[in-house]
Symmetry: C2
Subunit: 186 residues, 2 copies
């Protein structure tokens, strides 16, 4: 099993979806912590089906192409449940902006400030978007009595990470700008 496989199972555990739906979801909420293109999703679904973790029903539509609606099986739910609480293996960080920061001593400080201002803005915008989603999501979670077995709980936790991550990133950018604006001797 690959992480992508678990990601797909995780989305299907919430409700049955098509490959197209899953690809759309990965451009939205889920994409904040995992993403894949449709060209990777469709073959992976075929593989999950061949291993018995999902099944599909073909839904014929008039005026639209037919679609395959995938359901998670009990076997799929079992591997997913087993996976969620096993330790995550740490993958190395590869952050282009930090790499640039490492090399910034070679650059003109003015240009460097520009770069980090752009990046700060980007992360502040992403932050604002997450915060909006969080407010909406929290209301719904309260309605469900903050149940830890509601899928909303998972969304809530992951979205909270998105928020703190973006805030931290933006604040680092701001701090870098401050360092760049300081005179060399002080």
């Amino acid at each position: 099993m690959t992480n992508l496989g678990y990601a797909l199972l995780g989305m299907l555990a919430y409700e049955p979806r098509t490959g197209y739906d899953l690809a759309q979801l990965m451009k939205q909420q889920v994409g904040y912590f995992w993403s894949a293109k449709h060209s990777q999703i469709y073959p992976e679904l075929t593989r999950l089906e061949s291993e018995g973790f999902v099944t599909f029903e073909v839904i014929e539509q008039q005026d639209r192409p037919h679609k395959k609606l995938y359901h998670i099986t009990s076997a799929g739910l079992e591997v997913l449940r087993n996976w969620v609480t096993t330790p995550a293996e740490s993958t190395p960080v590869r952050d282009e902006l930090i790499l640039k920061a490492y090399c910034i001593w070679l650059a003109d400080p003015g240009k460097a400030i520009e770069l980090f201002k752009q990046e700060e803005l980007r992360h502040r915008q992403q932050l604002a978007q997450y915060e909006q989603l969080y407010i909406w999501g929290e209301e719904n979670l309260v309605k469900e009595q903050r149940s830890k077995s509601s899928p909303l709980f998972g969304k809530y936790l992951s979205l909270a990470r998105g928020i703190s991550y973006e805030r931290e990133y933006a604040e680092w950018c701001r701090w870098v700008i401050e360092q760049l604006e300081k005179p060399d001797f002080f």
Copy 2:
């Protein structure tokens, strides 16, 4: 040019090194934001050499295998300088732990708490290590009058990010544990 190419040029801009040295560095400081195995580094150095961004001198040693000491060329320095202030293209986040958090509603809360306690510990340890390096590095930077054109400045910025990143991650883990410990109805 690939990001790995820039990463290697960035390290060589500081001082000449062998492929082996570069691989070691990527297990240490640089690995906190970029990493590669020697099997990727050696061919990349060959490529950089063929493009004229680096040169090497063979150093014969007694009692040790010979080595190739790579130097950055003026052409290499130019592409690197040009790259550092151009906007970084955002690569999608793929974080296995957040993915698990998204699916945590399927799990036993007790096991979930265990998972996040482990992860919190891991990030706290990494944080402590970075903070130690930061203290040492800052002293040296002060000696160089906090010059923005000193390579220490780049190390300082990138290490600061490592610190705030790990702290944020650990605090999110802690917050998740708190959520998991709360009773469902309150």
